[in-house]
Symmetry: C2
Subunit: 192 residues, 2 copies
Amino acid sequence: MARWQPETTQRLVVAAVDLFTEQGYDATTVAQIAERAGVTKSTFFRHFSDKRELLVAGQETLSRLLAEGIAEAPPDAGPLDAVAAGLERASSAMGPANRELGPRLRAAVAASTELQERDALKSVGLAAAMTAALIARGVQDPTAHLAAELGVLAFKRGYAEWSEGDRDDARGLAHHALAALRELRAAAASLG
Amino acid sequence: MARWQPETTQRLVVAAVDLFTEQGYDATTVAQIAERAGVTKSTFFRHFSDKRELLVAGQETLSRLLAEGIAEAPPDAGPLDAVAAGLERASSAMGPANRELGPRLRAAVAASTELQERDALKSVGLAAAMTAALIARGVQDPTAHLAAELGVLAFKRGYAEWSEGDRDDARGLAHHALAALRELRAAAASLG
């Protein structure tokens, strides 16, 4: 299984989200985050350009995995089946640390307009990566764009279910993301 | 026809977008925007909290109009027909000044990550307003959310067509937004 993030990155993210939750995003400094993670400020800046970037750690990895899964789906797979393959690929890289982060991350984002903006642009980036991967498979626009949007919604809903749900539920993120995609697919069909 | 924005607001937006295009977003100050628009800085701050907010002028109005159109659609209208009514209502408030702004606005956004983030959150806000209006009509989630996302995509595509297309094309924004919605509806049906 692919490592989602190098260990230091992971530690910085956990430290930052803890501090955002304890004292708010605006009041948290890079120095505090580095100290909590047990690293120097210069180590912090080797990993992130600023504290906000912490919260989108992994966005590039996530985009790449989604696109790879779509690219490698069987040639005869339809757009949403290709999207499902992308969700499976991306989910396989998300482990217990990602699950634990979910609720605290969401609390931090809910409390800050700046983080909401960054988070919204992250979704746009993920949709763009999936749209491009679908178009490379020969899917026409706007079908490609629409299928990608369904993929983003499914990933977000699946991640929320997985990270906020029952900890005794051993099913992984892939299960929840694919269930959400099936639900959205049915909803799309019902639009008429 | 509803006035989209009070005249001073409109003038400030035009001045700002011109300056963003001429010299970049970061290099543009509130003082310069106010001067170009022929008003004082304190007049500026009566209308906007900062220069970034200029670019989302009208977001609240737009959300309200979309939601009103959805709420007032015939009781037996399906989710996408209600969305179409929302698009028509919102389009009716967009005049020639909005059309002229489109390309320059897009250029300014393309050149600034900060503006891209704000713009992405704007789309999230519009989708949320439409989702809430659809749920109030009894549409279930995730159908409501999905129909709202189609509405946002249709509005953005229609606005791009209208504001960047042939100036001799006298058809209004509503025509282009509804055409985009029909295309997205067909794409949704083709997802299978």
